[in-house]
Structure formats: C-alpha cells, structure tokens
C-alpha cells in the first residue's frame, strides 16, 4: 500500500465519520424530543398522584400504577423527591407496597449486578423504599466497591436502624475520607442506640489505628454518654487520638472534662494544645481562665490564636485578660491579644466556627 493510497483511505474514512457524526447529532436531538414529549406528562401525573396520596385522596395502588408507567430512573427520582415530603408512617406503607411490583423486584435484583450504575439504581431505590427484608441487599451494597453505591446505600440507614447495618457502616468508617465520614455521621444519627453500643466496643481497642477517626466520628454525635470514654482516652499515647479527644471534650461541660482539658492544654503536641484551648473556651469554666491565659503565651501561633479566641468566651474576665495581655511584657501574647481585640463580633464568630 502506498502512502497515497493510505491517505486516500483515511480521507474517505474521515468523510464517512463526518456524515455519521452529523446523523448522530440529528438522531440524538430527535429521540430526545420524542422521549421528553412521551415521558414528561407521565412524570407530572406521578406528582399529581403523589400529591393526592399524601392528602389521603388516592390509594397506594394509584401511586404504584403511576410509578410503573415511568422509566426506572424517573420513578426513583420521583420517589426520592417525595420521600422527604411525606410522613414516615405513610411512607412505610408505600415502601411495603413497593415490595411486589415486577419493576421494583427487578430493581432489587440489581444489587448483584456486575454494572455499577445498576447497583447504584438499586441503592438509590432502597434508600427510600427499603423494608426489613432488604437488610441483606443493603449490607452488600454498603460494602460495594463503587463509592457512589456505598454512599447511596448508607442513606438507607436513615430509614432502617438495623444493628447489622450500623455495625457494617461503622466498621467501614475509618477507611472513608473525612467528607464521607461526616455524611455517614449524619445518616447514622437516627440509629443512635445501635451506634453507641458499637462505639463502646470500638473505644476499647486502644491499639487500633482507626481509633482517631472513630473518636472524630463519635464527637460529631454530641452524645453525653460518650464523655466518659473520651476522658479516659485523654492519656492515649497517640497525639492524633488526644487531638480528637481534646476537640470532642468541649461539647461536654463537666468537671471531669475540664480536668482532662487542663491536662491536654499542656500536651507536648501543639494540635492537642490548640484543640484543648478551643474546648476550654467552649466550656468557659471561670476556674480555667488562668490556664487559657497561660496558653496565650504558647510558642505556637495556632495555640495562641485558639487561646485568644477562647478568652473572648469568658465574658468580662476574658476580655480583661486580653486587655492585660495587650499591654503585657510577652511579645507574642501582646500581638495575639491585639489581633483578637481588633476583630469585629462577626469576625470572632467566624473564627470560632
């Protein structure tokens, strides 16, 4: 084959491809318009039926019939949208109804599909329509290799507080990124008793490298029962664990928390000291004022910033301490006090967040 012939073949192929692309664009437009014209009225019909059903003017069968008319993705979208608007007892009635239709059964069967998007459809469906019979499926989806599927499956925990699912979610928690952890924390709040039971067990594994992440998660629950294990972990050899403990203890105004924070604010690691100073400010026990004032002289800038912000939460006494530091002999404390005193109330609240 000569290079001339080769180029000729390429040129012809290009021409064919050019025509094919233009046909593809035209067909795509046409199909979209047709599909939209066919499906849109059905979606509106579903909304109208859901509305009537929510008001008790339509039966569950009517809703199921309207859902059956829609493509699966739109049916799921409709369910997700309406699940947030309908009381949970009424929604459970619909969830039970969604166990039998053929399309819902087919959707449920997708939990074992080789294609992640099918498993995602199943997870999204179960996040609003799961019943106790689906625990096995949700468990598998929670352990799915695709993160989007895991995330959707985790949403199911808002509806089903099964200890098995909670345990599976908590076991996974340390391996997740901070953002996903925060999302898990928000969905696990509904299943609080099961979560707390399991956390109590996890806290006993002192050598577990996942412990800092578990404590971080536990801190988000704002659960008073956790104060005691938090206090116990204040002497843990890992600085990361102590940092999370120092951060979490600020939510528990209790003499034991204050004592632990008084110890942590003198820690060798500055992140621990900074978090302890912050937490002391959150509790604002007047007896800890001298400790926080001392932290304003810390060699680390971040600790001084946290201590300065903490002092503003001690009311007049804290402000006096800052004014005193502003004219004091300690150069760094003086700078930090001037900086904090110069902040507007709005700036202060933003920094304290």
């Amino acid at each position: 084959v000569t290079s001339y012939q080769f180029l000729l073949v390429v040129a012809v192929a290009q021409g064919v491809l050019f025509v094919a692309l233009v046909i593809l664009i035209t067909l795509n437009r046409w199909i979209r318009v047709r599909r939209s014209a066919a499906v849109h009225p059905r979606r509106l019909e579903l909304d109208a039926t859901m509305q009537r059903w929510a008001l008790g003017q339509a039966s569950t069968e009517d809703v199921l019939a309207a859902l059956a008319w829609l493509p699966v993705s739109l049916a799921i979208e409709g369910l997700v949208t309406w699940s947030a608007r309908v009381p949970s007892d009424r929604w459970q009635e619909l969830s039970r109804g969604l166990e039998s239709p053929w399309w819902a059964r087919a959707l449920r069967a997708n939990y074992r599909s080789a294609r992640w998007w099918k498993r995602l459809d199943c997870a999204r469906f179960l996040s609003v329509a799961a019943t106790p019979h689906d625990i096995g499926r949700v468990l598998r989806l929670l352990r799915d290799r695709h993160p989007a599927v895991q995330l959707s499956a985790a949403t199911t925990l808002e509806r089903i507080g099964s200890p098995v699912l909670v345990t599976a979610a908590l076991e996974q928690l340390p391996f997740l990124g901070p953002t996903v952890q925060a999302y898990y924390a928000s969905v696990l709040k509904r299943a609080r008793p099961a979560v707390l039971r399991h956390l109590a067990q996890l806290f006993r594994r002192l050598d577990d490298p996942r412990l800092p992440r578990i404590i971080e998660f536990a801190g988000r629950l704002d659960e008073p029962v956790l104060r005691e294990p938090f206090t116990t972990l204040a002497t843990h050899p890992e600085a990361e664990v102590r940092t999370q403990v120092a951060r979490g203890l600020g939510k528990f105004p209790h003499p034991e928390s204050v004592a632990a924070l008084g110890y942590l604010v003198q820690d060798e690691a500055w992140p621990v000291r900074a978090q302890a100073a912050r937490s002391l400010g959150m509790i604002a026990d007047p007896r800890t004022l001298p400790i926080v004032r001392e932290a304003l002289r810390d060699p680390e800038w971040w600790v001084r910033l946290r201590a300065g912000l903490a002092l503003t939460r001690f009311g007049t006494a804290g402000r006096d301490a800052l004014l005193e530091a502003e004219v004091g002999a300690h150069m760094e404390a003086r700078d930090m006090a001037a900086l904090i005193l110069g902040l507007s109330p709005q700036g202060l609240s933003e920094y304290a967040a």
Binding site: V22, N28, P147, G177, Q346
Partner: protein, 466 residues
C-alpha cells in the same frame, strides 16, 4: 534536496500519525468517562447533600486586577452559590481602576486587622476588609504582584481546607460547587478537581448568572466555544483515564490547601500559573509517594468572557504557549522519567511534543510541502490530500467535542446554536487554526528574547438580557 524533503516529509507524516492516534485514544477514553460522569451527575440527590453537613467547607479565591467592569456582578454571583459552607476571599491586586471602590460600595466594606499568617510570601498587604452585608466575604487589598501572587495572598487568608481559584471575570453556575465536590463525597484521594469552563460571550446574563446559553454570532468568540468544548469535554476527560491532566483551569479549579502549602503555592514567575501549579503538584505528590488523583469532572460549569478581538486573543494565546514552553523547560527532569509514573511517561511527553512543538512542526510541514512542490519532490495531488486529511482530523475532533456536549449536557438547546457550533467546528481549520499557529510561534520568539508579562486584557463586562 529532494531526499531531504522526502525525509522531512516522512518525519512530519509520522509525527502527524502519532499525534492523531494519541488524540483518537483520548477521544475513545473520553466516551466511558463522560458516560460515567453523566450518570453520577444525574443520579445524585443534591438537595439531600446540601442539607447534610458532609460537604467540605471551601474558600473561593478571587484575584482581581483592573476588573471594575465585572467585579460586582461576579462577586455577587459567587456569594449566592448553592453551597452550605464557604467563604470568598477577593484579592485586589493593586488595581489602577475602581475595582476596590466598586467592592467597597457594593458590599459595604470595613477595615479589619489582618488575622492570619503569611504562610506563602506575597507582596505587601495594604488592608484587609470585611463586609457589613455579606459575612462570607473577605477582601484583601495588596500591592500589585500578579495573579499568582494574588492567589497566594488569598490562600494565606483562607480558613478552609479546600480552595478554589476563580477568575473575577468568571460566572460560576449556582450548583457548580456542589458538583465539584462530588469526588470528595465519593471518598477519592483527590488533590485537585477541575470543572468545565465555557464561553459566556453571546449568552444572556442576569444577576451574574447565565440564564440562556447561546453560541456567539461573532466568528472569533464562536470559534472559541468549539475550542473550549474540545479542550474540556474530550481532552481533559480522556486524561482522567491516563493518570490525570497537567491542566486544571485557573478560572475554575479546586485544590487541597495543605498540598498548595507544601509546594509553596502558585509560582509568581510563571505566566501560566495554573499549568505550572498542577505540574508541581504532580511532581511533589509523586516524589513523596502520596496516593492522589487530579480529576476533571465535566458537569460543574463556569462561564468566562473570551477575547473578541484578534489582537487580545493573540496575546492570550501567545502567553499560554509561552507558559507551556516555560513549564516544559522548567520541569524537563520529569520528561520520560519513570519516577513520575504516567505523568512522566505519558503526560509530559505529550505536552512537550504534542502541544509545545506542534506549531513548529506544522509550520515546518507547510514549508516543506511548498518546497517539495517547487522542487517537484512532492506530487501535488498527494500534498493536497495530505492537507485535506490533516485538516479533516482537526475538524473531526472539533465536531466530536460538539457531539459529546450534545449527547451529554446539551447546554445549547436551540437548533440555530447547534448549527452555528457545527459551522464553527468546520471553519476553524481554515484560517483560524493557522492564525493560532502563528501566535504560538511568536511565543517561541518571545521565550528566546526572554520577554515576560501578560499583556493587556480588556473586559467588556457581561451582557444583560434585552
């Protein structure tokens, strides 16, 4: 002479085949990627995520230098984004126009003391302002130091672990931040994420939002719509599957702040600071064996005003290419270096040989063809066929980008816009492409002369609905 012409011709043909095969690979890789991303974008329940505390807090960095025409609209639009926890740091980089005054007037600014450390050295700060009306806004006024210096100042002032650099002339879609954080919600080890930048010229803009996406009727901005589609929708998507792109647009890119601190922020000496930053980020993370991803996701969209005159456009393209040459030279140690994994073995060679040297090879190709024809070393039919095939490739790639947009996000709904897009994709090869080659060639000359600087960039401001 004939033999030399033949040999050069064979080299050019080989280069052309290798480059276009690589483009075809990118194109093929972009298909599953856009399909996956479209599925994720469609299936996510953003309302639910918006109500959760899971979204990571973000600082939006807005460098502004002589942006008085658009600054108020841009900042207002940014401040009203659909996101739960974010702050906006605008840096007035010693503007000579009324940028700061406009900000002061529009957002009722008042001066506050500087409450953060200068982790990355920058030009001297003049003042720091907060807004009485918008609590999320912080304005930093500083001596002029360039865009990179402004971004570094904004990074210093930021409070949150993720930062997103946004140009002051860029309009971000309301849900773009939510979409941009998707990789973080999916738990990936993300170092940076880029979104799509589209052309705002010709679109209807109301209250800092693009309310009606249109393809400009004017030729130059219209052609740039196709260029942006091509660069983002298949170029960067394809790179996702090849280990990450070297470019996250400076107009719209999200970064982990701790990594930016680790590499010392943006490099002030660079004229294309976004490319330079991403290359250094790759280098740092590879050197320290930190697992990471630098991803591009297509559905978060920011709209930007592109040059409408050839003069301004030529400066922009010359600067982009000058930055590319400088970056490839600066980080030549990464080229074909297995230590840097796929970045060293695929991305750097592609950007060096496929992008940086492309205008030289193209001009050489034109020159050799003319010489060959003059000396009778090349058959006229063959030369014309080669030209048709070479141009046809470029045309097909542009049309393919239009197809990808059409089957996925379909931002340009009107038939007239689609026809215009196809027309521009077809016409781009004739005249415009050669002009860009010329502009990029000038970059080589300016690098040789060690010429620095950005050149003037004139903003018209966004059109309002009629």
């Amino acid at each position: 002479v004939n033999e030399l012409i033949h040999a050069t011709d064979v080299v050019i043909l080989g280069y052309f085949l290798a480059l276009n095969t690589f483009y075809a690979v990118l194109l093929v890789l972009a298909i599953p990627e856009i399909w996956e991303q479209t599925r994720l974008a469609e299936d996510e329940d953003f309302q639910r995520l918006m109500q959760s505390d899971a979204l990571p807090p973000i600082t939006i960095l807005v460098p502004a230098h002589n942006e008085s025409a658009t600054i108020e609209t841009s900042v207002t639009a940014i401040l009203t984004l659909e996101y739960r926890n974010f702050e906006v740091v605008v840096v007035n980089d010693g503007s000579k126009d009324e940028t700061l005054e406009r900000l002061r007037h529009a957002f009722d600014l008042y001066e506050v003391p500087c409450t953060y450390r200068e982790t990355i050295p920058t030009q001297a700060l003049r003042a720091v302002y907060r807004s009485r009306t918008r609590t999320r806004l912080l304005v930093v006024d500083k001596e002029n130091g360039g865009k990179a210096d402004s971004l570094n100042a904004a990074i210093n002032a930021s409070r949150f672990p993720l930062v997103i650099a946004v140009d002051a002339d860029t309009l971000i879609e309301p849900d773009a931040l939510l979409r941009l954080t998707r990789p973080f919600l999916l738990g990936a080890r993300i170092a940076a994420v880029g979104g799509t930048v589209r052309v705002a010229n010709g679109c209807v803009v109301k209250d800092g939002r693009v309310t009606d996406a249109r393809v400009p009727r004017r030729f130059l901005p219209g052609i740039q719509v196709v260029e942006y589609l091509r660069a983002f929708l298949f170029g960067r998507l394809g790179w996702n599957r090849l280990g990450g792109s070297l470019v996250i647009s400076g107009a719209f890119g999200l970064f982990r702040k701790d990594y930016l601190y680790a590499i010392g922020g943006y490099r002030v000496a660079s004229v294309v600071e976004d490319l330079d930053l991403v290359v250094r980020l790759h280098r740092h993370l590879q050197q320290h064996k930190i697992p990471y991803e630098i991803a591009f996701i297509p559905d978060p969209v920011a709209w930007t005003e592109v040059p409408e005159s050839g003069r301004i456009l030529s400066r922009q393209r010359e600067r982009w290419h000058r930055g590319l040459i400088a970056a490839m030279w600066q980080y030549k140690g990464m080229l074909f270096n297995p230590r840097y994994g796929r970045v060293g073995l695929i991305a750097m060679p592609f950007f060096t040989f496929g992008e940086m040297l492309a205008p030289l090879v193209e001009v050489l190709g034109y020159g050799v063809t003319v010489l060959g024809l003059a000396y009778g070393a090349i058959d006229t039919t063959f030369a014309l066929l080669f030209l048709v095939v070479a141009w046809g490739y470029g045309m097909l790639l542009s049309i393919w980008a239009v197809v990808l947009d059409e089957v996925s996000f379909r931002r340009y709904g009107r038939l007239g816009d689609l026809v215009r897009l196809l027309l521009y994709a077809t016409l781009e090869t004739f005249g415009y492409r050669q002009r860009t080659v010329w502009w990029r060639l000038k970059a080589f000359v300016n690098v040789w002369k060690r010429r620095q600087g950005w050149g003037e960039m004139v903003r018209k401001g966004f059109a309002t609905p009629s």
